[in-house]
Amino acid sequence: MDPMAAIRETFFQECEEQLSELEGGLMRMETGETDQETVNAVFRAVHSIKGGAGAFGLEDLVRFAHVFETTLDQVRAGRLDPSASTMRLMLRASDALADLVRCAREGTMPDEAQTTSLAAALKALTNDGMAEGIGAEDDDDGLGDLNFLPLAVAVEQETMPDAGWVITFRPLAALYANANEAALLLREVGMLGPVSVTVDTSSLPDFGDLDPEGAYLTWTIMLQTDCDEAAIRAAFEFVEDDCDLVISRAADRPAEAGLVQVRPDEDAAGVVADVRVLDGDEAAPASSFADIPSDADVLAIIRKAQESVSAPHDDRPVAVGGGAVAPVAAQSRPEARGGTDGPASRSDSGAAVGATIRVDLDRVDRLIDLVGELVINEAMLSQRVMEAGLARASGVAAALDELEHLTREIQDSVMAIRAQPVRSVFQRMPRLVREVAAMTGKQVRLLTDGEGTEVDKTVIERIADPLTHMIRNAIDHGLEPTEARVAAGKPEEGVVKLTALHRSGRIVIEVADDGAGIDRERVKAKAIEKGLIAPDAQLNDEETDNLIFLPGFSTASTVSDISGRGVGMDVVRRSVQSLGGRISIASRPGAGSTFTLSLPLTLAVLDGMVVSVAGHTLIVPLSAIIETLQPQAATVHTLGMDARVVAMRGRYIPLVDVSVALGYRDAPLDADKSVALLVEGEGGVRAVLIVDAIQGQRQVVIKSLEANYRAVPGIAAATVMGDGRVALILDVDAIVSVTRTERLRGDGLRAEPTLSQAG
């Protein structure tokens, strides 16, 4: 890749992270968390985006970010109350900023009217109603209130705490060349406390000998602060190699006369406020000043990008077990970046930043593929050894055990590289909620929980769409209109709760609303109207709720008048199923609905039960199996023509002959001569699967059948067994749903193409 393009791409990746931090921070502020740390984190997110955008000449982005940053600075300085309306505006500004970033990335035109309007609204907040267009020539006039103001009371030098520092700062030419700016560093220091600055020009050569891009000035900064030296050094964190910096205590150095003194305010708080005045003064001209302020961030971006660009950009496989694996596995665990660390923490946690590296995703994918091959080869070797009849106590078997253990460890470690908190998906949702709420005229509050729950990146990428759909539905169809809520004695503001947690080796994501719940009568009536069920069909609540997942039930035009759910839920279910997941509904009339997704943590490996069916080897996901059993003839009952059920503990469980369902056989086996697996599909629906024999349990590497062959109903994926043969992984939900569809619609998987070609 072109190095500049790579740097630019890195900037946009950074932007995504900053935007997530920004939105998360604003959301926290909206709920009252207006502590300095949160506000600083939010400020720095915008500041960083602005800085990077300036470096790449993204003027629209810079301008808007600057206005936004200025407003945030007012909050930070305590001059602007982060009221609910202010925070709503800032959240909208955050959305607009995200739009501007996206447009810059895609090279498309932003919605100028929106940004202009929002910028004006932001300025109105800081300028006491003086709204201006963003593109106005006197754009920066909006920052006029940051000018120096005559201050009546000066704090005597003697009354200053004896906590001063003397900082000698001499930039090298490289500092400027790396897009840093001395003025901004002075500003950073000024944020720590009142400063007095002198400049030493003695090294300045004669004009004729001057290198205009050289560095000749040295600044001495008298800083009054209680901060420790580390805090001061943090201000110079990104330039420490590009300057001479000496920091010493000022205890026995008297205040020097004639220095440029930042005028303090009346009290201690005012002293701080005064520095912010200075900060604002410097930043004030900066709709175009903007590319300077975040030089440190720009430098960080560029350095990171340069690292990735300068690294060998070979997409060829890295050797498993070789030196290339260890650093990646050891250093790039995503959780090191997780937690509550925001951008604000970057400057004071340099070690944490250094502990992560950015790796081309292709390399990680390739590594995972290779580890998958390793797992398969280990399985093949294991099988060969077993076939050779070696004793378990033999040295070979022991070494094989060790290899298996090691392989598993490597696999877990490699998978951990791709593990990410679901935060990145969750953080997209507040905007969605705001937009849908605005469209529907409803008041909605989104609550999230478990954002730190980790799951494989592939899963994260693919759950965004179903989640988006579900949340949109929750607001549009789940929550009642405001008047209806009030009439029902509910708060005007509806609540949508998004939760993630780990459960039994899977990730469970819930989307719950406190709306009216599914209107089952109307859903049922609509299903009858659409011919999806017989008019006299007897359905329990669960079956009725599940009607909304039926294709054909839910199109916008057919369900828009239904005060339940339905739009696109068949699509949602298909998406979830394609992930190897399940979706279920729990709805209470008048109290709301909860949609629960149960998804695998990774799409790369699977713990499965290896079974034989009509001469084929199949894998049944272990997570779906409740127990194995040997049905007795007396417990098997036939219903109608060919439907069978098994009596188990007072319940009748539908029985599915896998070989028939998949088309391997025409006639079902006798249940009492087969092995059965009690499985649970989506929504807790159970079935007994009849197979010929059970071979055992094994972890298998999932290979996409769709990508390598084609999608096959009833089959979720494929894998390669130890003997080198391909085995298919059963889609338990699809198989289980045979029972339901048979009962509801009278057809099943048998009508679908068989697997004879794929076996």
């Binding site: 400049v199 004009f207 205009p212 891009e213 560095a215 000035l217 200075l278 003064d281 001209p285």
Partner: protein, 109 residues
């Protein structure tokens, strides 16, 4: 890297009357063009309109400080005027009193 060349505009004809107007952004990219422009005006009085300046960085400040010293040594007039309050604040932050760029009294006296 392509340097910004539009650093200042000249609206006069003779050096004595010529007034250079500085561009808004005086960052590292502007340092070399600014230096070149000022170099081309050596030997004459110089008046600079800084009213458009929105930001000034360390390197352009160096150029202006060195120029000021050179013009002073050459016994020529060197005047920068019109700094906005914001830029004045920045200059003070960098330890510079804007009045340092006003040499009318010295040179006109």
């Amino acid at each position: 890297m392509t340097r910004r060349t539009r650093i200042a505009k000249s609206n006069g004809k003779s050096i004595g009357k010529m007034k250079i107007r500085l561009d808004p952004v005086l960052d590292i990219k502007a340092a070399a063009p600014l230096y070149a422009l000022l170099s081309s005006r050596r030997g004459g009085d110089l008046a600079i309109d800084a009213s458009a300046v929105e930001r000034i960085g360390g390197q352009c400040l160096q150029v202006l400080l060195a120029a000021r010293a050179r013009w002073e040594a050459d016994q020529r007039r060197f005047l920068i005027e019109g700094f906005s309050p914001d830029v004045i604040a920045t200059l003070r932050l960098m330890g510079i009193e804007p009045a340092a760029f006003d040499h009318r009294r010295e040179t006109d006296a």
